[in-house]
Structures are given as C-alpha cells and as structure tokens.
Symmetry: none
Subunit: 216 residues, 4 copies
Amino acid sequence: MSVGDTEKTTAAPSERGRLDKRRAIVEAALRVFARVGYAQASLDMIAAEAGVAKPTIYNHLGSKENLFRHVMTETAARANGKTLEVLDSFPNEVDRLRPGLEEVAHKLVACYCDEQSQAVRRLLYAEAVRFPDLFDEVRASGPDQFIEALAGRLARLANAGHLRIEDPVRAANQFIALVYEELPTLSTFGSRPLDPKEADKVAVAGVDTFLRAFGE
Amino acid sequence: MSVGDTEKTTAAPSERGRLDKRRAIVEAALRVFARVGYAQASLDMIAAEAGVAKPTIYNHLGSKENLFRHVMTETAARANGKTLEVLDSFPNEVDRLRPGLEEVAHKLVACYCDEQSQAVRRLLYAEAVRFPDLFDEVRASGPDQFIEALAGRLARLANAGHLRIEDPVRAANQFIALVYEELPTLSTFGSRPLDPKEADKVAVAGVDTFLRAFGE
Amino acid sequence: MSVGDTEKTTAAPSERGRLDKRRAIVEAALRVFARVGYAQASLDMIAAEAGVAKPTIYNHLGSKENLFRHVMTETAARANGKTLEVLDSFPNEVDRLRPGLEEVAHKLVACYCDEQSQAVRRLLYAEAVRFPDLFDEVRASGPDQFIEALAGRLARLANAGHLRIEDPVRAANQFIALVYEELPTLSTFGSRPLDPKEADKVAVAGVDTFLRAFGE
Amino acid sequence: MSVGDTEKTTAAPSERGRLDKRRAIVEAALRVFARVGYAQASLDMIAAEAGVAKPTIYNHLGSKENLFRHVMTETAARANGKTLEVLDSFPNEVDRLRPGLEEVAHKLVACYCDEQSQAVRRLLYAEAVRFPDLFDEVRASGPDQFIEALAGRLARLANAGHLRIEDPVRAANQFIALVYEELPTLSTFGSRPLDPKEADKVAVAGVDTFLRAFGE
DNA sequence: GATGAATGAGTCTTCATTCAT
DNA sequence: GATGAATGAAGACTCATTCAT
C-alpha cells in the first residue's frame, strides 16, 4: 500500500464524504436537467434525487446557474474526450481504408448516441439562448478540436495519395455530416432514444458516399 | 362610405379588429418566445408586446401552452411552405444539373437562415422535451415531406441516367446533410446570425461533393 | 352635486375597491411594521392583516422596500401636517404668552405621543441604516420646516419686545428640546406607550424654563 | 514574575487564546452589527470578520441573540462609564460655574459622539422592539444613574445658593436636553458622523440658556 | 475546544390563470 | 369581447443552528 493510498484511506471519511456528495449532486442534476430541462428543474427535485438537503447544493455549487454550468462542462468534457479517442482507430494503411473509416464512423455514432452525450447536447441546444457562452465554450473545447484532428488525419491520407481532398477541414466537416446525416435533427432532443442499428446503417452509407466522392 | 370602410364594414369592424388582434398576439408571441425562450416568456411580456391585455390572450388562445403551439405550427407551416417551393427550381434538364442543384442549395440555405425559420427551429429543439408531439407534428408536415419530394426528384434524374443513385431517400438526406453541413450545429440556437456568404460557399461545396459521389 | 362627484360615484365600484384595497394594504403594513419592525415583517403577515393575497401587494406597491417607503412617507406626511397645524395656536398677544406657549407645548406633546407618529419615528430610527435617504426626506419635509416656522414665530415675539432672543432658530430648537425633554429617549421605540399626564407636566416645566431664560 | 503574569501563564496559552478569541468575536460582532444592523448581520459575516469558524461563536456565546446582548451590554457599560467620569469635571466653586458647566457639556458631547457610543445607542433604538428588556437594562445602568448623579451635583450648587433650582432631577434632564439639543434626532442612526465643532457650539449655547434660566 | 459540512424553516418574488366590470 | 385586478402555487435563495470530525 503506497503512502498516497494511505492518505486517501485515512484522511478519507470527511473528505471522501464531501466529494461523494458533490459528485452525487452533479450526477443527480444531470439526470434531472436531462429529464425536464433547465427551467423546469427545481432545486428541490435535484436535492431529492441527490439525497441531500437543498442548502448543501448551494454550499457546493453556489447557484442553480452555476450548478448547470458545472454539470454541462464536466459532462461535455467527458463526452468530448471519448469522441476524440475515436480517432485512435483512424486507418493509417490504405488497405484498411474503408473498414477503418467504417469503424470510426461506427464509434462516432456510438459516442453520439451515448445517453450522457445526447443529454448534454440537447441541453446545450435548448439553453443556448440563456447560456450562449457556455455553448461556445463547450463547442470550442470539443467539436472544433475534433474537426481539426480529423482534418489532419484526412490530409495525411490525401498527401499519401489515398484520397483526393483539396480542403481537409471541409472534407472533415462533410465526413461527419454524412456519417451523422440526420442524427442532429433526429436526436437533438432525445425524446426517443435513437436506434443504433439504424444509425449504423446510415453511417456506413455515409462512409460509402464519402469514399465515392473522395476515394482512390 | 369609403372603400376602406366598406372592407371593414362588411366583414364587420369587430371581426376585422378581432382578427387583427389575434394576429398581433401571435406575432408578438413569436418575437418574445424567440427572444427569451418559452419558460422565460411571461404572458405579461407578450401582452405588452402585442399591445393587448392579458386576458385577451386567453380569450383568443386559451393558455400559454396553446399559444405556443399555435405560434409554432403557424410559423412552421409558413417556413415549410417556402422550403417546399424551393423544389420548383429543381433542374429537369441534364445540362442544367450542377447550376440547378446549386440554385436549389442556395435557396435552401436562404430558407434555413431566414429569421423566422431559425426561430421556430430553435424553439422546437429547445422545447422538444416539453412538447415532443409538437416537434413530431412539425417535422412530419415539413422536413419529412420535403425529403420525400426531393427524393422523388432525384429518383427521376437517376432513372433518366443522369445520377447514379440506388436509394433516393438516403441520397436526399445526404444531399441536405452536405448542403447544410454544420448549419444545424452552428445555427440551431441562433445566438449569432449566420453569415449567408459563408453558408453559400459551404452549400456549393456540398453540391460539388454530392455530384462527385453521385454525378454522371 | 357636481359632475366630478357624479363621475366618482358612478365609475366608482372598481375604482373605489382598488383604492380601498391599496389603503388597506398600507394601513396593515404600518401596523405590522410598527409591531415587529421592517426585517421581521413578512409579506405574509401584511397580506393576512390587510385581508388580501400576497401578489396584490406587489401589484400595488411593487416590493417590500417600496411598500415600506410609501408607508413611511405617507404616514409621516400626515403626522408632520398635524404638527405644523399646532402653530396656529401660537400666541400673538403678549398677555397670552405663557398660556399660549403651554397650549402649543401641550399640543406638540400630544402630536409626539400620537400612536402613528411614534410608530413612524421609531421605524425611521430603526431602519435609518437601511434607508438613510428615507430618513433625510422625511426629516426635511417635516421637522426642519417646523423648526423654521417656529423660529419665525419666536422672532416676531422677540421683535415686539416680548422675548429676549438673539438666535431664533437656536431658540426654537431649545424650545422643543425643553418641551420634549426626554421624550425622544423614552419613547423613540414605543415599547411602552408614554404617559401623556407625565409628559404634559414635563412640557409645562419646559415652557417655564424657556420663559425663565428668554421671557420678558 | 508577577502574580498577574503567573495567572495568565499558568492558566495556559490556550486560556489566553480562548479569551482572545472571545474578545475578537465580540468586537467583530459590534462592528458588523453597527454596520448592517441586527437582522442583516449574519453569523457568517461575523465569523469572517472575527476570523473564526461559525460554531466557535456558538461555543462562546450560545446564540445570535445572546451574542447581541453581550455586545450591547459590554459596550454600553464601557460607554456609560466614560460618561459618568465626566462629572468629575463638575464645578464645585461658584467662580468656575460657567466654564465648569461648559467643560462638562463639552465632554458630554464628546462622549455622545464617540463612535462606539453612537453605535450602541443606534442599535439599542433600532432593536428596541425586539429587545425591550435590553434597552431597559442599559438605560437603568447608564443614563438613569447619570441623571441621578447630575441632579445631586446641581442640588448641591442650589443649596449653596449658586443656582435657583426647585426640582434638581428635572433640571438635570433639562440640562442635558439643552446640551444635546437635536443630537438625539441628528445622530441616533449615525448615518453621517456628527460634526463635533457644530455640536460644541450648540452645547455652549445650551449651557448659556441653562444659566439664563437657573443661574445666579 | 475548534471546525467544515449539512439542514429545516422561512423569505421575497414571479407567473399563469380567473373574476367582475 | 376586452380589460384591470386579484390570486394560489411554486421557486430560488438565505440563515441560524447542529453534528461528526
């Protein structure tokens, strides 16, 4: 057992309890916000769902608005991280081009359809008027970076002569537009969960069209 | 008795005034909802913006929820109608294929960026949790029909041998996915108005990619 | 019966009811504020005491702070008016000097001990930290004017050779200081109502001392 | 090593720290109460100003109400003590009558205008409804005793034939009424600090009038 | 003994909705 | 039919107070 472990274990009870409580609050808040939206979510609901008293939320997070911001940025960071990891599967060898892109597309769709991911996206859209800066922040730290990374990968393939791409950033945007296709419209609000089967077929078709346009 | 009077008098002064009042309410409501969202829009604001008393809104529209539904469906119907008209520009002759599709793309982007259109879309997304049925209704009467119509046009071109398309509905979806590209993500909430210039370039690029994939 | 009267009488019911309700609120608020102080007075108490619903208070007066301001200024104006009227009894003839001053003193004490007058004064003192401007306003429109008027009367008597006064404003201040004597200290807070009998004796003694100092 | 030192040292640094902490709390509380009033003063503010944790206040003083009582009585005792000392300057010899009284008046005004003195007085007035007994207690142990003592001094002068006074207690009250004049009204709430210069002139004039009435 | 954390009660305020005019 | 006035319900937030450490 390391010293670090010891510290955590010994000094734990209060500290551990505090962090647990904070986490419980944030998680409960995400669930409630996702279920009924920002305006309809009362702190009473959240407190009940988290199993804490209302003032405890204020002690930890300060205000309803602040709570929302924390929930959004934390969850978005997690989701964005996962999405970025998808690029690890990006194909480097030409003979794996189509199956590699399909795998990427498949994983992207999976990330997109992930429950928490959908929830943040929906809430971000829904409250964009109230929290425009929050939207910008999440967008900058997530999708924008992803597009950049994806464009880089595509450019490398293009340079190697495996794809005919002039504008990699545009191509990257079109790639995800084709892969997600109508997911943005369908799922944004997540009233109904998406059918991953169907979404996968759409994604494969998107890759197909992408390769028809830029392949070889 | 003047002509102006005649108009008013026949349909009855009250009737005319009544309809005017109703229209004023609905228009004011759209502006207010678009500005601050459903939950934040108080009937006081709307009544003030419309220049009527609060109970008058109830007399005409019954309830806040009902008012919202009316505003959404009426505005959406108008916007969807305009979008559908765009297909009148769809190219029938093969030699106008690219410029024709570009014209369609251009007009679609214009429709998409129209202020009222953006407002309804944003509100529909934002309140999709609260009004899932409303979302479905508007979607069924708008985008779904548009995709069907567009698919039909594409199928005709494919049958004539001008495009290589197997699944016209999918192609239609991909066409608008490519044309709008990141518009859905960018504009959904309309915090910032879109730059039509930039959007147009994206749309032309979308048409290009579409034709690279399905052309000839 | 004049036209104005007619209008009032006919159009009355609603208007009458509205004003009645406003008056009821203000009066109830004065009672509650006087009883428990500004901070402890909840709008629930006031609403209950006035026999109206809480929002009605907001419709009429806007906010707790505003309500307090109105209650204070209105009540103070009434009280100040009565105090000013006391000077009508001020003696003009020299042979009524002492009894005249005693009458003035007597009436001043009565005004001072008036329940509402005490209530405003106490509240004004108690909340002077929170509402310094309110205190200044009431003071300027009341006591300051009264001192000026009293100084004028004294100056006239001095000019006529009936009093030996160099600085009439100072003498005026000293007159009321002697008449009220420890009333300010005793009553400010009105925990116990003052004994008018006792206060009257003090006032007469004050007049006596005043005449010993400035008389003849 | 002195006995005093021994006591402190033996009783332990903790004891010393404890008393320091208590004193820090009471002083901080006075500042906060003076600044924002009883109801607005939160224990959080006081704890922060004292540099201690909130429960520590409860350990030492029990409750907010109790804390207020302690602060008031302790501070009032100090202020009252100083005021009582003023009488040491009271003139015994007839040839120092006027300058002696003026000196007393001057010192009284100084005591009255002392920052802490004003703060207690203001708070006592402001919270007289909530703490009537506290007001009585302070009054009995302060002003009442002072008046008694002053009356005694005046009686002695009267008996010696230097002043024509029938009712010494009344005269004492009138003396301070004339000396303070409108100080009670002006300063009670201490929004603005009093101008000692001006107050001094008023006091001298008060002594003058007092002597005009009772002198010789 | 001192503290960080948690809480139950209570406050002001807003809003959708309904009468009486 | 249109309106001014009134209301019941509900929500965000604060605070004095108490445990467990």
